[in-house]
Symmetry: C2
DNA sequence: ATGAAAGCGCTAACAT
DNA sequence: ATGTTAGCGCTTTCAT
């Protein structure tokens, strides 16, 4: 019924509670004989330390929490998976939670219950994946726990590092590609809807400037929604300002742009090229076939974990008896990853790790 | 720094720990005066009960866990959101966890860490959303906690209820629609890859039978992958058995089928119609424009919550002082929901709640 | 109606 | 090297 506790193990092994704890924590010095006895008893009983009790006890905390923006974007799954894998290799346990849920209607709200358990679990580190609108409200958390944000900016206050795609490099790839194709007039659709959007807008403007587009490159404001893309395109068409190419803030918006263009009777890519950002599976569907920037999400996840492991205060792992967790392989925190591509044109603050993206060319451009 | 504990509140309010607990638990009888004093002190201190401590204390457990199959399918977000909303209305707190993560490579594995915290949190109920491949391994959990599965079958052993789309009704809608369009030869692509796939296959066969398709309706085995859909279609074309319509096990597969058909030079819908299942946003993209069955995911989530609330052992809520959680609004567990559509042709076991779906007709069929 | 005390499962000084 | 003790923050008898 009730799962076995440390006490049960102690009784069966004929030792004290503390000794069992010591064995599982890996800390102290335990005689080989007793160690084996304890391990054996634990095995026999099917004992597994209670995480909740562990964390309440405020003791060793080899738990790292991964907070995912929401359940909607499959993009996050890759980042989370990669981060978890790296953390596991370093002997950390991870608990993955989502920051937002859908409310009854169409919107999303901060999931306070989830945030509460996260907080009460007292993880030794936190990785926030994706943009979390109310991130500022989590300052209580981020102040107390070493935090790194992945695939977002929100490098507000007490964030150890922000690991994300090098927007500047990515948009430079895009603009260069378009220029090489003879495109002379290009619009960026996006910019509203968070810091990432703003950063991409800035990166676009800089890239277009550098490539000599001058006034022939401009920004058409839109948020991430389908409707936003639609009305931006409608404006372009109505005011007869249709460019030869649209660079969208991300893939979802790009699809919205394609939809809107075609609804306005503009063919893609012949009438107007479209490029996205994120390298989602959506872009790969032949019917969509969207040229996009692949941010290398796996790597983003991995580096985020790396950055966290390198942070001070993220305690060392334990449970040597447990499995083959293995020692922390000397976290080789690269510091600056994006050194290869477009290293010159990024406004990086301390702790910003930029991952160089690649361009995936498909039919849409 | 350290967040205030029950002790701090007690001290400030000038009462004992127990009294504070009583106030927050809502149980006992506390004098109005002290109640206010406690509430005020708590407010002033910013006190919030520690969930972890609460659950360790094995006491009241108004926490319900929602276990999401994985982070990939945006479909789940709707179900989870709806379930959470209903649970919140009944005064339960929810913690949402994912069951699987991506491993380093392309696969997905059971996230044992997450399962562990779930277990140690000792929720009073569990809602499993989506098909969890290793669900059987969770029997330890499901045996101890009232569980309902949503949008999956896995009604293995000790599951209180399984709330899902009425596949029979859904596929009947599809087959009827195709028949009305004059389709005479139709293939189902799918069937491999879990109980849901198998159930839909059976439902298809039954519906085709009922509509008199006889030998002109058959099943082309495929799993959920793009590659599976591709090879199934390749087989159809190679053996010159191309039907006038393909019914896919879900939207993702349907998109794979469209891709494969077009790669083989078959136009959709003129050369072959295609229908999906799930009502995802993918299907709504004009470039895809997939006719699909909308399972009403919101309702699935809501009913799952309802079923859980109706289950014995799912304790009543508490925290009367906290906010406006409100009393449990007499959970009106409908028992059988799918009574309206295709109620005759479903093999329903005890506790199965079938939600009637609707057909969304688009360009693909 | 209120407080004292025991205990949830665990860790961490502190003693031996 | 091992056991004893005192918590972590909370709920819950059991007295009063």
């Amino acid at each position: 019924m009730r799962s076995p506790t440390i006490r049960d193990v102690a009784r069966v092994a004929g030792v004290s509670k503390s000794l069992v704890s010591l064995v599982f924590t890996g800390g102290g010095t335990v005689s080989e004989e007793r160690r084996l006895r304890v391990l054996h008893a634990a095995e026999q009983l099917g004992y597994r330390p209670n995480l909740v009790a562990q964390s309440l006890s405020a003791g060793r905390r080899d738990i790292v929490a991964i907070l995912v923006s929401n359940l909607h974007n499959p993009l996050f799954a890759e980042i989370v998976g990669a981060a978890k894998a790296r953390l596991a290799a370093a002997g950390r346990r991870t608990v993955i939670l989502s920051a937002q849920v859908d409310d009854g209607a169409g919107g999303a709200v901060l999931d306070r219950d989830n945030i509460d358990v996260l907080r009460d679990l007292r993880p030794s580190g936190l990785i926030a994946v994706g943009t979390i609108p109310e991130f500022a409200e989590l300052s209580e958390l981020t102040a107390a726990i070493p935090t790194v944000v992945a695939s977002a900016i929100d490098a507000t206050q007490d964030v150890v590092a922000a690991v994300r795609t090098d927007d500047a490099a990515g948009l430079d790839l895009v603009v260069a590609h378009l220029a090489a194709q003879g495109v002379e007039r290009v619009a960026f659709v996006g910019g509203d809807g968070g810091t990432v959007a703003a950063a991409r807008e800035r990166a676009f403007v800089a890239a277009a400037e550098r490539r000599g587009f001058g006034a022939h490159a401009w920004v058409e404001r839109a948020d991430f929604s389908e409707a936003g893309a639609r009305s931006a395109v409608a404006r372009l068409v109505a005011e007869d300002r249709l460019p030869q190419a649209v660079v969208a803030v991300n893939d979802v918006t790009a699809v919205g742009v394609i939809t809107a263009l075609e609804a306005e009777g503009v063919a893609v890519p012949s009438g107007c090229r479209v490029v996205g950002y994120d390298g989602t599976t959506l872009a790969a569907i032949p019917r969509i076939s969207l040229t996009t920037v692949d941010p290398d999400n796996r790597r983003i996840g991995r580096e985020a974990a790396e950055a966290l492991l390198a942070a001070p205060g993220v305690a060392a792992p334990g449970s040597p008896g447990a499995g083959g967790a293995g020692a922390d392989r000397a976290s080789a925190f690269a510091g600056r990853a994006g050194a290869g591509a477009g290293a010159d044109h990024a406004d990086r603050s301390i702790g910003e790790v930029l991952i160089p993206p690649t361009l995936v060319v498909r039919a849409s451009a």
